[in-house]
């Protein structure tokens, strides 16, 4: 099976002369993207919805997207746009309730650390949560997050700092 890690430096092809096939891109990056959106939504089904929809949109315009230097970046951007839109539309209000139960029908279920981390992320304001997920799971630099969110680098550093502090406090509280 093809490697499934979604690393920003792990592009399926390096040049535009040899573009990846859609199927290769899908196999290589689907799971890595799911991790990011699972951490953001706290709900794997929501994550699958946005990632699959992003891949559908990529396939629909694959002749163009495949010529991009980094096609998976386009897919990731679309998925994040969808994720943020869904959040704004409060669709995830129900997801939040489901998240508390953390139902994982296809596996034995995440270990306690993952449950704690995903649940703790769910308590953060969306911007802090998004910054942490992009940074730790999407391997975005501070500058890249700042550009994506249209804010100053210092703002992103502040979100990351406050997010980390809040997570640490959450885990300290749990360990007592």
């Amino acid at each position: 099976m093809t490697s499934i890690a979604d690393s920003r430096s792990d592009q399926p092809r390096a040049t535009r002369d040899d573009p990846p096939s859609f199927d290769e891109l899908y196999a290589a990056h689907y799971a890595g993207l799911i991790v990011q959106f699972y951490a953001y939504f706290g709900d794997r089904q929501e994550a699958q919805d946005v990632v699959q929809e992003a891949f559908c949109r990529a396939l629909a315009r694959w002749r163009t997207v495949s010529t991009y230097e980094d096609p998976v970046a386009w897919v990731r951007k679309v998925a994040w746009n969808l994720a943020v839109s869904r959040w704004r539309r409060a669709r995830t209000a129900l997801g939040f309730v489901r998240r508390q139960r953390l139902e994982e029908p296809r596996t034995d279920g995440p270990g306690p650390d993952r449950v704690s981390l995903v649940a703790a992320l769910g308590t953060l304001p969306p911007k802090q949560r998004r910054a942490l997920v992009l940074h730790y799971l999407g391997d975005f630099t501070v500058a890249e997050i700042a550009e994506r969110e249209r804010v100053a680098d210092a703002t992103v550093r502040s979100w990351l700092h406050r997010g980390r502090t809040a997570l640490a406090a959450e885990f300290e509280g749990e360990s007592r």
Partner: protein
């Protein structure tokens, strides 16, 4: 590695190990179905409009078929009267595939009416957010025959940003184009028109042989006085209420339709407009005197002008 780093690394590793991607065939199937829907909609749009040329029939998708959304865009722009060549107070979007679309306009504080339309299939949600104000949300259906949806937004302060964000549903993302325009409300046009008209009237009003235009919103079509006169000296005056600036030009038209600029000045548009006057001598051989107030980009659609003249 800190504890937080470890937790994220563990989340990544173990989740990736557990995820079983759905078959890529599923994605191909969804896209084929959407293309079929889009092509069916394209046929419906053409039937609705009695169009010719592009013909896409429903049924088996044709991957290399031309994207009908360009045609939808033409219809959408015409519906909201958007000048596609120079879209200043509006926009046309024919591909919403990346999920969301956002546009910002710097506007004078006033009430605005935004007119949106979406052509194709699905629906879009438009969220208009004035700086410092509450967002207004409207759902716009994407239809074969274009419908206009209007929403009024109040922008406070002297100047501010009006942000328009559009989120398509999954169908509209692949099968629709939308366009919108934003315009000053009629009440604000009247308010600004009275300000500009009062200023020009103070110079021209009550003088025999003088004339002023009705107030007009500065835009692509610049109203002007085109008046046949007798040779004499004239005082031409313009005022502009709103924001930005405009160029006031006084032109004489000759018998062979040649134009001679007799005078020109820059006019600042402001909530407290001031008269700008040029004195010109109307040439004996001219057939008409024209007064024109042409907006710069920063005044387009956000200022109301009045021009007038009087013999000196």
């Amino acid at each position: 590695m800190t504890d937080i780093d470890q937790l994220f690394a563990e989340l990544r590793t173990r989740t990736i190990a557990e995820v079983r991607p759905p078959s890529v065939d599923t994605v191909h199937r969804i896209v084929r179905r959407r293309r079929a829907v889009r092509n069916a909609v394209a046929g419906t749009v053409l039937l609705a409009l009695g169009g010719t040329g592009l013909l896409l029939l429903p049924g088996e998708p044709e991957p290399d078929a031309p994207d009908p959304r360009a045609g939808y865009g033409t219809i959408a722009a015409a519906t909201v009267k958007l000048d596609v060549a120079t879209p200043r107070l509006g926009a046309l979007v024919t591909d919403l595939g990346d999920g969301t679309w956002q546009h910002r306009l710097e506007l004078i504080g006033a009430t605005y009416r935004t007119t949106l339309t979406c052509v194709g299939a699905g629906e879009i949600t438009a969220v208009l957010t004035p700086a410092g104000g509450d967002p207004s949300r409207v759902v716009v259906p994407c239809t074969a025959e274009p419908l206009e949806t209007m929403i009024d937004v109040v922008l406070g302060g002297d100047l501010g940003t009006l942000t328009t964000e559009v989120v398509p549903d999954d169908v509209a993302a692949e099968s629709a184009a939308f366009a919108y325009t934003t315009a000053l409300s009629t009440a604000d046009q009247d308010r600004l028109g009275k300000l500009a008209g009062g200023v020009v009237g103070g110079v021209v009003g009550g003088v025999v042989g003088g004339l002023t235009t009705p107030a007009f919103v500065l835009g692509d079509t610049t109203p002007a006085i085109e008046q046949r006169l007798t040779g004499a000296a004239y005082q031409a005056t313009a005022a502009c209420a709103g924001t930005g600036s405009a160029t006031f030009t006084v032109v004489a038209t000759g018998a062979d339709n040649t134009e001679t600029v007799l005078g020109q000045t820059r006019v600042t548009c402001s909530p407290a407009p001031k008269p700008m006057t040029v004195t010109v001598t109307y040439p004996a051989g001219a057939t008409a005197l024209a007064l024109r107030l042409a907006p710069e980009a920063d005044a387009y659609g956000q200022a109301v002008g009045v021009v007038g003249y009087r013999p000196t």
